[in-house]
């Protein structure tokens, strides 16, 4: 279990007469492998990690405070800036939470469009993860492959809502825009384009001896520890827990689709890699089903012009690419939320870093940070 009391000094019983003195290394906040401005203080014995301490908050923008001073609609674009590689999921979670609070439901067409975009976003997020993770481990080529293919997704987003990264695609009660002419055709073309590409990534890595040696048995975390630490998403599934909010408590239109939840056995970095690769394939499956069945109809439910939810509170969560993304919203009956709490998956998952890298080597810290798939914008909010 993780040791919350972190000692920077070597304990007396840990010393032998030939011990080299331990090294405190400050990794970050400017470091190529910390995916942003994460600072990890490492206590090392040679190359072995004795303990870590994460220093976060460099990107803290006070999103939760801002929410209290904006109306429900005005706050919507702010959530896109949290997990900026999976902005669609953030918007989806927020819109659905407020809809629940208002007790309205988005129309079927809007729900299907939401699913398509959210799954495309999941693909984009996983592609970005794969590229940077492989780069951290030293394979530079996958990064360019994944960026090439992610570009196609961003093009679809851009055509749909005008933004590539911080996609403000949804609105409380439905979608902001009707799909553009040829949306279905382009998504189908993209599916055809990207399916062999995933095989291409796997060809470079899955059976690569060095890749397997670098990831197998690294950063292992058991299912029990995962649950105790609140770790969710692919990390939890790689440890063998078959749990996905899309299946467990379906939201949007996920109940209509047929897909598998990939799980791993050992919960090491390699399993997480395999799980995410399989998740990308499952996302493609969902998109293929959804794009064929987008129903006709309105894209907006009947919501008042001024959103004033009744007094009450709600917790709603969705399966973001990184794990469980929850919104806890307290309404006091006015036009502004009384309190918005975001339950960020990256923040909670990052807690497991210390446990995962204990007694491993420095190089594994990089691999584990990569495999946790954190986005500092979401950790710090």
């Amino acid at each position: 279990m993780t040791d919350p009391t972190f000692h920077l000094e070597l304990q007396e019983h840990e010393k032998t007469f030939l011990d080299s003195n331990e090294l405190i290394i400050n990794m970050g906040p400017q470091h190529p492998a910390t995916h942003g401005v994460l600072r990890v203080i490492l206590k090392l014995d040679g190359e072995k990690v004795l303990g870590t301490e994460c220093v976060i908050g460099y990107l803290h923008r006070g999103v939760e405070k801002i929410a209290e001073h904006r109306t429900y609609t005005m706050f919507n674009p702010y959530v896109d800036r949290m997990d900026y590689v999976a902005a669609v999921s953030n918007g989806l979670g927020y819109c659905e939470s407020v809809e629940k609070l208002l007790n309205v439901e988005a129309p079927a067409r809007a729900k299907y469009i939401r699913v398509v975009l959210a799954e495309l976003n999941r693909l984009a997020s996983h592609m970005l993860w794969l590229g940077t993770h492989a780069l951290d481990i030293g394979a530079i080529t996958p990064l360019f492959y994944t960026f090439r293919d992610r570009e196609e997704i961003l093009k679809i987003f851009e055509k749909y809502c005008g933004a590539r990264l911080t996609t403000h695609a949804f609105r409380i009660g439905g979608c902001l825009y009707e799909t553009y002419e040829g949306f279905e055709r382009e998504v189908k073309k993209f599916l055809e384009f990207v399916t062999p590409k995933i095989g291409e990534y796997e060809e470079l890595l899955t059976t690569n001896r060095i890749w397997v040696e670098r990831t197998k048995g690294v950063g292992t975390i058991s299912a029990k520890d995962c649950i105790a630490l609140g770790v969710t998403g692919p990390v939890l599934r790689a440890s063998g827990v078959k749990w996905d909010i899309r299946k467990a408590q379906p939201y949007a239109a996920y109940a209509d689709f047929d897909f598998e939840i990939p799980i791993g056995q050992s919960g090491d970095t390699y399993d997480r890699y395999v799980v995410r690769m399989e998740e990308m394939r499952q996302s493609l499956r969902i998109i293929a089903q959804a794009i064929d069945r987008i129903p006709e109809g309105p894209i907006m439910a009947k919501v008042p012009k001024v959103i004033k939810p009744p007094v009450g509170e709600i917790y709603h969560s969705i399966e973001a690419p990184k794990g469980e993304l929850g919104y806890f919203i307290v309404s006091d009956g006015s036009t502004q939320p009384y309190r918005v709490r975001v339950r960020p998956p990256s923040f909670v998952n990052l807690q497991a870093l210390d446990l995962m890298v204990r007694d491993q080597l420095v190089a594994d810290v990089i691999a584990v940070i990569g495999t946790l798939d954190i986005v500092l914008g979401e950790v710090d909010r």
Binding site: T16, L18, S20, N21, G46
Partner: protein
């Protein structure tokens, strides 16, 4: 090929070795001492080359300068340098040191004054080409047994080092 500027190189290399040797014992920073020692060893390798012993020179560079001294530096870097810098370097063995220095000095004087009579003939000119082979023949022929004993000793030393360094076996 005739050697070029032999005298110049002899004095240059011996001077280099001597100065580096003095630096080894006078520098306070252990890293600087080690680097000076490497310089001394390289100078020595150059002297070996001038004695038509290229193999010995090569081995000197590979083993001492490239191998052992790197490990030396490795260890020095790992141990606490600030602490060792603060420690007294000229410790209580100065009596032994002076005795050794006096003995060495007497030896030098003896060699200088009586050298010509002690070694009446010049050392035989070593052949330039087959030098490496002769060493091989000596090591694996005449002194085979000693050579093997030396290797055994090294093996014992390696095992001892592993046993000492490992926390659990």
């Amino acid at each position: 090929m005739q050697p070029v500027a032999t005298t110049f190189f002899f004095y240059f290399l011996s001077g280099l070795t001597l100065i580096a040797g003095v630096l080894v014992i006078t520098r306070r920073n252990p890293i600087h001492s080690a680097l000076a020692l490497i310089l001394a060893l390289l100078g020595q390798a150059g002297l070996y080359l001038m004695l038509y012993a290229p193999f010995v020179a090569g081995v000197q560079i590979i083993l001492y300068a490239g191998g052992i001294m790197v490990l030396f530096l490795f260890v020095i870097m790992l141990v606490n340098i600030e602490k060792s810098q603060r420690e007294e370097q000229f410790n209580k063995q100065w009596v032994v040191g002076i005795l050794a220095a006096v003995a060495l000095g007497v030896l030098f004087v003896l060699v200088y004054t009586k050298g010509r009579s002690l070694f009446p003939e010049r050392v035989a000119q070593l052949p330039e080409q087959s030098n490496t082979q002769e060493i091989a023949v000596m090591l694996y022929g005449n002194y085979m047994f000693t050579f093997e004993i030396a290797s055994l000793l090294l093996l014992v030393a390696i095992i001892g080092a592993v046993v000492m360094a490992k926390k659990r076996i």
